[in-house]
Structure formats: structure tokens, C-alpha cells
Symmetry: C2
Subunit: 247 residues, 2 copies
């Protein structure tokens, strides 16, 4: 499985993805699910892939090929709006699935796949989209300023409680990592390393992706503190007085 999260806050965008791919528990590999398309000073576009790996890879390879073959034509680096980028990736995903999904279905292989796409193109504000398996998409709004994909449920409650548009970026990074910690503790199919990328609003210069693995002291400390904090929160609730029937 996969776990991907992206948040759209007033201060910027935060993206994170795990890097475990598996076809059964005895066939576990690492694949980067985060891709960055960057033109310095002009655009930064981040994609997070979930679902069938061949489908997402083929889709992004098509986007790459278009970019290489016709660098001046319509492609991910020349489109003028993030909305167009979501349409391009959604359309390419449709093409890939139209070609492959029937063959996969014959072997009972699920061809569904999705992309979280976010970033900024000069002249527009930052935007964040979720492209569904069918190629249609939705955009993050003020009420629901985050998208998840893959194994989304374990790590959703804490985001629901904490997220708000005004959250500062360091807190959003912390929230993202707490959500990963909750997911990885309950589901072995989501695993380290985590790829993390922070995009402050209006920042179109080079970005740095951070890879968090077993040796990351901050993530280890965060996991310990969160576990301790949850246990304290649990202990601070009085037990019910009515839980025992009369013997």
C-alpha cells in the first residue's frame, strides 16, 4: 500500500509520501511516489502517486516524454495554470487505463490509481488537486484543505482535529509526520522512508525534498512524544463509574 498526504495552508503547501510498494507481503519494494517538476522562478509542481504502480509510472512517463519530445509545445512545463496540469495528468491517466485496464482485469488486477497534484505557476496562487482513478478531479478548498491517498484512514483523525488554514508550516510538517506515525504503527504496508516537501506560498526558487528514514532523530523523537502524549491524554480522562455490573 501507500500513504500520501498534501495540505494547502495559507503559508504554503506540504507534501509527503511513503515509499513502500508491494504485491503481497513477500514482494515488498521501495519506489518513490513523489515527483517534482520545477522551472526555477516560474513553477513548481509536485505529484504524489497512489494505486497501481505500472499505471502511475506509465502516466508520468508519458508526461516526461511529452516534455522531452516537444519542449516548446503544450506540456507540464508550459501550461499556464495548475488546473490545466490536473487536466493533463487526468487525461493521460485515462489514456493509460484505457490501454491497460482490460488486460489487468482479466487477471483480477486492479488498475485504479490516483494523483495528488499541487504547486504553483507564476501568476497564480498555490493550488492543490486530487485526480481520481477515472481522471476527473477536485480542488482543495478552505473547508477541507488537505488530500490523502492510499491507506488514508488510520492517519485521518489527527489531521481532522488539528488542521486549519492558518496552521504555520512547521506545525503542518509536524502534523503530517504524526499522521504517518499513526498510520505506520497500525499498518505494516506503509513504511519508511517518507519523502517530504514544503513549498512556502510564492516561493518559486529551488525546493528541497527531505527523506526521513529510520535514522531521523526528529521523527523518532516525534513518535516517542506522540505515544507518550496520547497515553497521558488517555490517562487524564476519568474512567466511567458505571462500567461494572453488580456481582
Amino acid at each position: 500500500m501507500t500513504y500520501c498526504v498534501a495540505m494547502k495552508l495559507d503559508a504554503g503547501l506540504v507534501f509527503a509520501s511513503d515509499s513502500r510498494t508491494n504485491a503481497g507481503v513477500d514482494n515488498v519494494s521501495r519506489f518513490e511516489k513523489m515527483r517534482v517538476f520545477h522551472v526555477p522562478g516560474e513553477r513548481t509542481i509536485v505529484t504524489l502517486s497512489a494505486g497501481n504502480l505500472s499505471v502511475t509510472q506509465t502516466t508520468l512517463s508519458q508526461i516526461d516524454r511529452q516534455l522531452r519530445t516537444y519542449p516548446l509545445a503544450t506540456n507540464i512545463n508550459t501550461l499556464r495554470s495548475m488546473q490545466d496540469v490536473a487536466e493533463l495528468i487526468g487525461g493521460t491517466l485515462r489514456d493509460t487505463r484505457a490501454r491497460d485496464s482490460e488486460y489487468l482485469r482479466q487477471q483480477n488486477i486492479d488498475s485504479s490509481a490516483s494523483f495528488i497534484i499541487g504547486g504553483q505557476i507564476a501568476g497564480e496562487a498555490q493550488r492543490l488537486f486530487l485526480v481520481y482513478s477515472e481522471g476527473n478531479f477536485i480542488e482543495a478548498s478552505g473547508d477541507a484543505p488537505f488530500f490523502q491517498s492510499g491507506e488514508v484512514k488510520y492517519g485521518k483523525p489527527v489531521i481532522d482535529r488539528v488542521i486549519r488554514a492558518g496552521l504555520p508550516l512547521p506545525d503542518a510538517v509536524k502534523l503530517t509526520l504524526v499522521s504517518f506515525d499513526s498510520t505506520m504503527r497500525s499498518n505494516i504496508s506503509v513504511g519508511l522512508p517518507i519523502d517530504l516537501l514544503v513549498l512556502p506560498a510564492g516561493h518559486l526558487a529551488a525546493v528541497q525534498q527531505r527523506r526521513i528514514d529510520e535514522s531521523d532523530a526528529y521523527f523518532r523523537d516525534l513518535g516517542l512524544r506522540w505515544n507518550q502524549g496520547l497515553k497521558q491524554a488517555f490517562a487524564s480522562i476519568p474512567a466511567p463509574e458505571w462500567s461494572m455490573p453488580q456481582a
Copy 2:
């Protein structure tokens, strides 16, 4: 959807289920998912149903009919072991699905269903089983002393962190309700009231089921305190220093 949990602790068993059933968001009803079979001083058996409502209802109706028609023959009130009870319910579930599932499948209706079954029969210790949709079952052991069914993921992380065989019953009730609070906050298809039942080990006298609805002061207070405690736990983690790229 549904959310059911049962825990098997040294001190006893705790059962809880929500009572929302829906076929689409415009067709929401309440159905009790908890059933108790009780012979004072001799046995207490609790079932929690999840999945296709007609399948679980028909299965339990068959168990009831057997009990009414042949009260002295082999039935849920005369079987000598909880293992036999799990086999009886698993077998009856197989019969129900063998009869109905092909008709349901023709309408793309999922006939899968499961039961959590726990309790005690005099002469045995308390036992807890999960009966799968296929009628096979597993028993809770020391390492994994709880079962969930239905919408299980949102409320699993907190149980994973807190549960241990030595947990006192009032704390287990508190943990169960925190797990429900997390689930209901993130998934509208799980709803109040919650049916709750506590069965201390060796206690075969009458049991009391407790129904927790919107007016339950303890559950409301627990939700507020847990929310506050989580936010404090989150606030107590330092934010990372490396989250901002250089502008």
C-alpha cells in the same frame, strides 16, 4: 457502515457496537447490532454483527428459531463450549449466504457479513471469536486481545497503543469509547447510540447493557477531554527546525 469492538482482558470482556445502518446516505436507519443470549448462572453469549443486514439478521433468526423449536436439542443455549457456538454461527452464516448471495450478487449487492462472538459458558474461561464472512473463525489470544469489525481503521491506532491484557475494565470501557469517538469524528456513517456491555470474568449472573446516546454526559465529557488531550500532546512536540527552505 458499522463499527464494532470487543476486547478480551484478564478482568473480563467489553463489547460495543454502533447502531447505524445505511444503504446510501439517504437511507439511514438504526438497528441494534448487539445480541445477548443469556442463561442466568450458566452462560452469557454476546454477538456483534457487521456487514449485510439481511444476512446477519437471517443468520441470528435461524439461531433463534432453533432455540424456540428444539429448546432441549443442540442449540446456542445447550452447546458446551464457546468454540461450538462459533461453529454454529459460522455454519448458519454459510447456509444463509449459500441461499442468498447469488441473488444479491446479480444486483451487485455485497452479501459479506461477520460476527464477533464472545462470552462464557460455565466450566470454561471467557473466550472471544471473530467469525469471517466465509464462516471460518479465529480466537483472540494474548497478543491481540481485541477484534473490530466494520469501519475499523480510524479507531484502531488508539487501541493498538493502549491495550494490554492487564487493563482494568473501567479503562477498557474508556478505551472503547475513545475509539468510537475517533471513528465517529472522521466517518459520518458510524453513529450514536453506542450499545455497550461489560462482562467481568466468571460473572454469569444477569448483565446490563448500556446505551450511550447524545445525552450521555460521560461520553460527551470524554470526547471533549480526548480532543483537548490530543491537541496538548500535539502542541508538546517541538516543530522541526528544518521545515522551511531558504527563501
